[in-house]
């Protein structure tokens, strides 16, 4: 059974139909690419799945449950995390704080426990250890006490990904993870993605413009154009698909 299924998902902004009856599937443990020209509705689609935009029609099934209509934090609690094109971090908080924010059911979240350190100290230490593990994985452990604003663009992307991991997600939605990142680091980011899939069994749905890198890593690719799904297939199929070449590469 696929991890994520969309049925006839539709989103209207006023008169504009940004997403038009899109149905797709993401298999458990897969890395799936989502490509298309600018304005084809990819980011909107990610927002609909993550619950940060409200759908006009259609259904979203995640892990066997319908999640259409849940709020963003509820969707996150179910196991879907979303990354952004511009890294959305708390710039004035430390790297470690940023990583700790999404941790579920912390005791120190409750005002009646918070004043008594011994009620949450142990759990907080465990969380910090987990966060340190994640930061090490994304090579940011040395920067745990820096403000997020002091990190480089690529490091911010990695921190954002690390933060998503802290919520132990089943599905990561990434929006151009390599945008604004130096080419060598861009490849590293995708290797990191691949490693995460192997080690944690995380499923990925990735919007990406650097097709040459993307095609090296994906299991399958969906192509969007003007809110519609244009094609679906393996990286090789898509690369040689005439219609796709026409709308996407303009030749």
């Amino acid at each position: 059974m696929p991890l994520l299924q969309l049925f006839n998902l539709r989103k209207d902004f006023g008169g504009l139909r940004a997403v038009d009856d899109v149905s797709l599937e993401v298999a458990t443990g897969a890395i799936v690419g989502l490509i298309g020209p600018n304005g084809s509705g990819k980011s909107t689609l990610l927002n609909l799945i993550a619950g940060s935009a409200e759908r006009t029609a259609g259904r979203i099934i995640f892990d066997g449950d319908e999640i259409s209509g849940l709020s963003a934090d509820q969707v996150f609690q179910r196991g879907i995390a979303r990354g952004y094109q511009d890294p959305s971090l708390y710039l004035k908080m430390t790297t470690l704080d940023n990583a700790l924010l999404p941790v579920k059911s912390q005791r120190g979240e409750h005002p009646w426990y918070a004043p008594w350190r011994r009620f949450w100290q142990k759990q907080e230490a465990e969380n910090a250890r987990a966060a340190a593990g994640v930061l090490e994985q994304v090579q940011l452990l040395g920067h745990y006490d820096s403000l997020a604003s002091d990190l480089s663009g690529g490091q911010m992307k990695l921190l954002e990904m690390g933060r998503s991991l802290m919520g132990s997600p089943k599905l990561l939605l990434l929006d151009e993870p390599t945008a604004g990142v130096a080419p060598n680091l861009a490849y590293e980011i995708f290797e990191e993605i691949s490693r995460l899939r192997q080690q944690h069994g995380i499923t990925f749905l990735i919007v990406e413009h650097r097709l040459e890198i993307l095609f090296d890593f994906v299991d399958s690719v969906y192509v969007m154009h003007l809110g519609n799904l244009l094609a679906h297939g393996s990286a090789d199929d898509i690369a040689s698909n005439e219609t796709v070449r026409e709308v996407y590469f303009g030749d």
Partner: protein, 306 residues
């Protein structure tokens, strides 16, 4: 200015400043986490004071119990006003002006409920009558157990709140909300729950401030409203976002209202009745000259709590 007057006024500054800090931190929290300059904040103070007064009249004279009850009633008032008024309004995405007006209205409603209660039991201008003990005495200064309760309790609570914001998971999430509520939702922070807890803390602190105010002065339905401009002045000095800035602001306002006012009166004959004008002058001056408040003086400025 005679030295005895200076000493007395500085003692008053510490006492009043600590109370202002307790109230102003709540205001700063609501403004940054909930995004609301809450004028009803004054009435949480009064509600806590009346709760404290009523149980003290019922014979409970243990200051700790009185403070705990004031915390609970203040917190309850704040949470209820959030659930009944502010939360539904936020859902409808109303403008900031609407929210401010609503906060005025909520304040008025609570104030007149308190008026009705005070009128029914005929409890106006009464003090929370903890027996007075003199702890320290010189020719020009007497310190009592009231001073020993009011100033340290406020300072301890202010420190606790600062630690809570900077060291605990709840504080981390409140800081996140203060910076970006939408992002907080996306990364799975239970936004509604954190907001409820924020209201709880804010109301509780205000309630305690009311009880302490009632210990050292008198309880009336207008007491919170009379103090709110000074409290706003303190919060605005803190740039409405910084904790140390707000605390510093609270003492600056109290110092201006006591020591500077007395100095002006003593040296230049300025009438003490101008005292209520001081917080207004501070607010206008800060907004004109330094809208960011005192925050930029401090490292890692701009983030709630720092």
């Amino acid at each position: 200015m005679p030295s005895s007057l200076l000493v007395t006024s500085l003692v008053n500054t510490i006492q009043i400043g600590s109370l202002y800090a307790l109230m102003a931190l709540g205001l700063t929290l609501t403004f940054s986490v909930i995004k609301l300059p809450n004028f009803a904040h004054a009435e949480y103070v009064t509600a806590g004071a009346y709760a404290a007064l009523i149980i003290s009249l019922a014979g409970v004279l243990n200051p700790l119990i009185i403070i705990a009850v004031a915390f609970l009633v203040g917190a309850l008032t704040a949470v209820v006003s959030h659930l009944i008024v502010f939360k539904p309004l936020e859902r409808q995405n109303v403008s900031l002006y609407t929210l401010i007006l609503a906060s005025f209205a909520v304040g008025l409603i609570i104030r007149y409920i308190l008026f009705t209660i005070a009128d029914y039991f005929n409890i106006f201008d009464l003090r929370i009558a903890i027996p007075l003990q003199i702890l320290f005495r010189t020719g020009s200064l007497i310190l009592t157990n009231l001073f020993a309760w009011v100033a340290p309790t406020s300072i301890v609570l202010v420190i606790l709140l600062t630690l809570l914001i900077n060291r605990t998971a709840l504080g981390r999430e409140m800081r996140a909300l203060a910076n970006n509520t939408i992002l907080a939702r996306v990364i799975g922070i239970p936004v509604e729950r954190v907001k409820n807890y924020t209201w709880l803390l804010v109301g509780g602190m205000a309630g305690v401030a009311g009880a302490l105010w009632g210990l050292q002065s008198a309880v009336s339905p207008l007491m919170g409203w009379a103090a709110i401009i000074s409290v706003f002045a303190a919060a605005i000095l803190g740039g409405l976002s910084s904790f140390p800035g707000t605390i510093l602001g609270a003492y600056v306002v109290a110092f201006s209202e006591n020591t500077i006012m007395l100095f002006l009166n003593f040296s230049y004959g300025v009438d003490l009745a101008y005292k209520p004008a001081i917080p207004f002058i501070i607010i206008i001056a800060v907004l004109l000259i330094r809208p960011q408040g005192l925050t930029q003086l401090l490292k890692r400025a701009g983030e709630l709590g720092r």
